[in-house]
Amino acid sequence: MTTDATPRPQDEAIERTPSTELVVAKVWELPVRVVHWTIFVSVVVLSFIGFYIGTPFLSTGSDPGFLMGGMRAVHNLAAFTFIAAILARIIWAFTGNKWSHWDQFVPFAKDRRANAKDAFRYYVFLSDDPPHEAGHNALAGATYFVLFTMFLVQVLTGLALLSLESEGFLASTTGWVFSIAPIPWVRFLHHLIMWLTWGFVIHHVYSAWLVDSDAKAGLMSSIFTGWKRLPPEDL
């Protein structure tokens, strides 16, 4: 990233603190980054293969392969990887550092509400000062709460649909899903959430880039390295 200790001329105009030295901080611990990229890769695999399962656009023709069977096997494997990543992140929300803590995802505390207001003003063009927060800004945290809720619905509908072909543990633990929605609507929801997830990805990458280009704290690189370069009072 281009940020260095000496602010560039246009940064001086929006200088917000008397501090002169930026500090580097390990904001995203290794488990957070591993979970992030595991979710990303499994969502790519699940989406592509899930789309094939819903709309088989390839055909093996007369060659007796195992295309759909193989696709479903990979989908299930990726799904359980995805579930494992989500469970790991939920555990880390209680055991990790303060920026990965569960309260980062619900803007209840006073300073988080104030941060949400700053972020909102920034996103709706009322301010050109990006929200100051070493971790997730309060609005971003709230969108991840929505995303994780979608993921949990996706996991639940996926497991319920998988249980249709079995009578064991899965069927007895997820069968209640179909008393809320009939099977075709459960599939419908499972497909819709996949698309909504990609809508989220667009928002996520764009917003990260936008805030990074204003705050210049190394947000984009931090999800690879874990480090951010910040004014000490943002920590």
Partner: protein
């Protein structure tokens, strides 16, 4: 005619008087044991129960129906109709096939109900709207008749999706307020045999189970017997290998369709439907819908008309977008709009930055103003 050592009102006696041999009877018991997914060691027990038991009295009610389940009932092949179903069951009242009419028919029904311990078979949904005026027989509404006839009954068997879940009459917008029988009957065990129509072999097996064990068979969450509705059509389909191989009919009459490939892309609802059609089949086991080249329509699932349509589409159409729109089109549209929205946001932000940059070159008051704001935000 072999002389049978059985009570004159017993099932075996009735069979013998119709020329059903003991060998044929035992074949039936063995086949029904298999259908009920019981070990073959139960076949003698079933045979004994049927030999000893009195013919059960059956009252067959028809409400908002098309008599399709009666058709299915009459076309039972194995066990053959006349032999087993019509004669083994003492059907005291059945509007479509009984000889009596009018007051005579009502009297037969009243007598059967007064005796109690009868089996009630219901075909068709029950309209509850406008105090039940949408279906009345002899001046009584379907709701009243159902209440009267099920009082004192040993069991209620709903045949067909309409009587099980409301079926077609209950499909949106359900103008008659139609409901399934289980919603109205309490105090009497009810078992659902949905399907459009139900398969009579499953009905006979359910009754045989009831006669043998004195209880209805185990059911799933939708009140259907597990022996008949415990497994998905998709998992026992003869075309399943084509599904796993990725061989799909793309349109009616194409090469894949002619070769008997999977009908998944033609809207087959086998993956969403629980029924034993693939193994028990229809018309004496000769064929069934998917075997005949048409996808399953999911007729034995609750609310099938509202949830399994479009019949030739994979998933329900998104509400408010018309039946030719798919969830994938809606989803791709959402992603596209999101991308467009954030692109616009980016352009506005770029404009905002440009203005801010210009102001930065102007006098320095702005700086202190921003710093004051910052203190107020309390970071």
């Amino acid at each position: 005619m072999p002389v049978v050592d059985a009570p004159t009102d017993s099932i075996l006696h009735a069979l013998a008087s119709h020329g059903v041999t003991r060998r044929r009877f035992l074949e039936f018991c063995a086949a029904t044991t298999a259908l009920l997914a019981l070990p073959q060691s139960y076949a003698p027990r079933i045979a004994r129960a049927l030999e000893d038991k009195k013919k059960p009295t059956v009252v067959w009610l028809e409400f908002q129906d098309c008599a399709g389940n009666t058709e299915s009932f009459l076309r039972a092949v194995s066990p053959s109709v006349g032999d087993i179903v019509l004669d083994v069951l003492a059907v005291e009242y059945h509007e479509t096939i009984m000889a009596a009419a009018g007051f005579q028919a009502e009297a037969a029904k009243d007598a059967a109900v007064a005796a109690g311990g009868h089996i009630v078979v219901v075909e068709g949904s029950v309209p509850t709207g406008a105090n039940g005026v949408y279906c009345t027989i002899g001046g009584k509404s379907a709701v009243q008749i159902l209440e009267e006839v099920t009082a004192g009954a040993a069991a209620v068997i709903t045949v067909g999706t309409c009587s099980s879940y409301g079926g077609l009459p209950a499909a949106s917008p359900n103008p008659t307020g139609a409901v399934g029988v289980p919603e109205l009957v309490s105090g009497v065990p009810v078992i659902n045999l949905p399907g459009c129509p139900m398969n009579v072999d499953n009905m006979v097996a359910t009754i045989v189970h009831f006669l043998t064990f004195g209880a209805l068979p185990a059911v799933d969450g939708e009140g259907r017997p597990l022996f008949a509705y415990g497994e998905r059509i998709h998992d026992h389909c003869e075309r399943r290998a084509h599904f796993d191989a990725g061989q799909f009919a793309q349109e009616w009459g194409d090469e894949g369709h002619r070769k008997g490939w999977c009908l998944y892309k033609m809207g087959c609802k086998g993956p969403s439907t629980f029924h034993n059609c693939p193994s028990i089949r229809w018309n004496g086991g000769t064929s069934w819908p998917i075997g005949a080249g048409h996808g399953c329509v999911g007729c034995s699932e609750p609310a099938f008309w509202d949830t399994m349509t479009p019949i030739y589409g994979r998933l329900p159409a998104p509400p408010g977008f018309g039946v030719t729109t798919s969830v994938e089109q809606i989803g791709a549209g959402i992603v596209g709009l999101t991308a467009a929205g954030f692109a616009a946001h980016g352009l506005i932000k770029a404009g905002q930055r440009k203005r801010a940059h210009k102001q930065d070159e102007a006098p320095i008051e702005i700086e202190s103003a921003t710093a004051d704001d910052e203190e107020g935000a309390g970071q």
